[in-house]
């Protein structure tokens, strides 16, 4: 019985051509832009010659991973736009960083953020923070590569190995050769492509609404289900996305990520001046929230779209095939019939709701009828998920498959290929910046610091390329093994959130308190990480608050230790 998987669609020849052209063009462009690296300064900081808009787009592209793109739309489809709160604090964080950390990094003339900590405190603090970056970013890199590869492998009908090697291999090629200049210029192209893709998706979702069903009706329908709620004023600290967790937790997270994570710091340190560097961050302050709004809106419109087009029983085609093979046909037919009937009922209720709005009918009753029909469809979907879970024996979540399925089944004339290329672009733009930054920290904070303290620029350039290749291959290996790691992958993914805020606290001590000493910074860092671990284990506080807990603990403990038992002064000068 292959009926259930019939509606998933497939890429046309034009789509494959578009995808192939993208991959060849981006690798060629990356290699071309990266030619002429003579010094490590060129390789890691693009000769410090980047304009603000290029560095700013690169900052943005590094943050937008493929799973952000497909996961966020899926999240808007299933739960609505509340995730937007996550970004509310970002503009304020950009202003604070432009005033505080960015000028300090510039005046210190450093390659890595952690290098600055040795000048301000001591080698121990630098080494620990850089090591934490390498551990968390290095392991998370595998997830960055694995998650979209898994989704694309199902959607494109390829093996996971093929998508991992294609995505990882293409990125390794131009980053090893061209370094940060290739990273930034390909990021500019990829970010442009992502913006084009977002507008195409919004446009397609709007134009594919049925006749007589306007955008306003679609938004009213989504609003009825609570999916347009973006500003939850709740003070409950256990709710993940509220105005307050977004403003305060999100601001601390953004300060930690953009201010202390080498994958971001390296993007804006390549600016040709302090002004260019600051503007690249402020550029993100203006554009980030609108961009996420559009991505989430796309997910909401896809949700409305599938009121009028039949969605699959399960969004993950591979799981659906497994279910078809394992479940008795009669049982599967029953579940599918219930699902189809519930979908048709919800469609009729949505049309009745729109009619009541247009003709001045009883809108309230129509709304109630629609919500009741929606609940019945939710129950039918839950039954299908239970079926999948009974077959696999594992929890089933197909949120990340919704958007790619929409693309492949509904877009034609090369557009599906273009949007799949956008997903590749989102993945590769994150990977490239991370390969480059991991190589920088490896070389500058460890190899040059502890192994070969003096050598020629040519030697360091060659070792930089080796480190880049190492991290690229490492990412591919982790991604290839990720399927077998299971829940360990989730642990790895959350690993960074335990100390992000704490590292921010150390940088806060460094730039805001002239009296802070190395001992206070180091033990403050340990105290901050311990505090976050305790809060995460013993309370239900939402994860965005971990960053506030970590940063504040480090700051207060660092100051207290400096006051009570200050220890030796910093070896360097501020």
């Amino acid at each position: 019985m292959a009926i259930l998987t019939a509606g998933f669609g497939a890429l046309s020849r034009a789509d494959w051509v578009v995808l192939a052209v993208y991959l060849v063009a981006i690798v060629s462009f990356g290699l071309w832009m990266g030619r002429g690296n003579r010094r490590v300064d060129d390789f890691f900081l693009a000769g410090r010659q980047m304009r603000w808009w290029a560095a700013g787009l690169s900052v943005m592209a590094t943050q937008v991973s493929a799973i952000t793109f497909v996961g966020t739309t899926g999240q808007a489809y299933t739960k609505g736009m509340s995730f937007l709160a996550f970004y509310l604090g970002l503009p304020f964080a950009m202003v604070i960083l432009s005033i505080t950390l960015v000028p300090f990094f510039y005046r210190a003339g450093v390659f890595t953020a952690y290098e600055y900590l040795e000048r301000r405190f001591d080698a121990r603090t630098r080494t620990v923070t850089s090591l934490l970056f390498l551990l968390s970013r290095g392991l998370a890199l595998g997830v960055t590569l694995y998650a979209p590869s898994l989704v694309l492998s199902v959607v494109l009908g390829w093996s996971e190995t093929a998508t991992i090697l294609l995505m990882g291999g293409a990125t390794i090629l131009y980053v090893v050769y061209g370094g940060n200049r290739s990273v930034i210029w390909t990021d500019v192209v990829q970010m442009g492509l992502i913006w084009v893709g977002i507008f195409i998706c919004v446009g397609v979702a709007i134009t594919r609404l049925p006749d007589g069903f306007a955008l306003r009706d679609a938004l009213a329908l989504a609003q009825t289900t609570g999916r347009l709620e973006t500003m939850d004023p709740s003070l409950d600290p256990t709710r993940p996305y509220t105005v307050w967790s977004g403003l305060f937790g999100g601001m601390f997270l953004a300060m930690a990520y953009f201010g202390c994570d080498q994958s971001q710091v390296q993007r804006y340190l390549s600016g040709r001046s302090l002004t260019e560097s600051r503007l690249s961050l402020l550029f993100n302050a203006f554009l980030k929230v609108p961009m996420q709004f559009l991505i989430l809106l796309t997910g909401v419109l896809v949700f409305v779209f599938f009121h009028f087009h039949a969605p699959p029983l399960l969004w993950n085609r591979a799981e659906l095939v497994r279910v078809e093979r394992a479940v008795p046909p009669a049982e599967l037919q029953r579940v599918q019939s219930v699902f189809e009937a519930a979908h048709l009922e919800r469609r009729a209720a949505a049309e009745a709701f729109a009619l009541a709005r247009h003709d001045g009918g009883d809108e309230s009753a129509a709304r109630e009828g629609y919500l009741a029909a929606g609940r019945r469809l939710d129950e039918a979907e839950a039954e299908a998920r239970r079926l999948a879970e009974s077959v696999s024996g594992e929890p089933y979540n197909d949120t990340n498959y919704i958007f790619p399925t929409f693309i492949v089944s509904q877009l034609s004339g090369g557009l599906a290929g273009l949007i799949i290329a956008v997903i590749f672009a989102a993945a590769m733009s994150s990977l490239s910046g991370e390969f480059n930054s991991l190589a920088t920290a490896s070389l500058v904070d460890f190899y040059r610091r502890y192994v070969r303290t003096t050598a020629s620029d040519g030697h360091y350039l060659a070792v930089s390329r080796l480190f880049t290749a190492f991290w690229g291959v490492f990412a591919c290996l982790v991604a290839l093994e990720a399927g077998r790691l299971g829940s360990a992958i989730e642990v790895v993914n959350k690993f960074g959130s335990y100390f992000y805020g704490s590292i921010l606290g150390v940088f806060g001590l460094a730039v805001l308190t002239p009296s802070a000493r190395p001992r206070g910074a180091f033990y403050g860092l340990l105290a901050g990480m311990t505090a976050v671990f305790v809060v995460s284990q013993l309370t239900a506080v939402a994860f965005l608050w971990y960053n506030v807990v970590g940063a504040v603990t480090v700051f207060l403990v660092g100051l207290a230790i400096t006051a009570v038992a200050p220890g030796p002064r910093p070896a360097g000068t501020r």
Partner: protein
């Protein structure tokens, strides 16, 4: 590995817009607040 000398790229006085850096930062903060206001309007708008 050559390193930048302090001060060479310290262009605190170069302000591309609005005359001073505090005004630029103020513009970012005001725009963020306006976006939050628009989002609140969007969520509660009677479509």
């Amino acid at each position: 590995m050559p390193q930048e000398t302090a001060g060479r790229r310290d262009d605190e006085s170069q302000v591309p817009l609005f005359g001073t850096w505090p005004r630029i930062y103020g513009a970012v903060v005001v725009s963020a607040l306006v976006v939050m206001m628009l989002l609140t309007l969007f969520s509660g708008w009677p479509f």
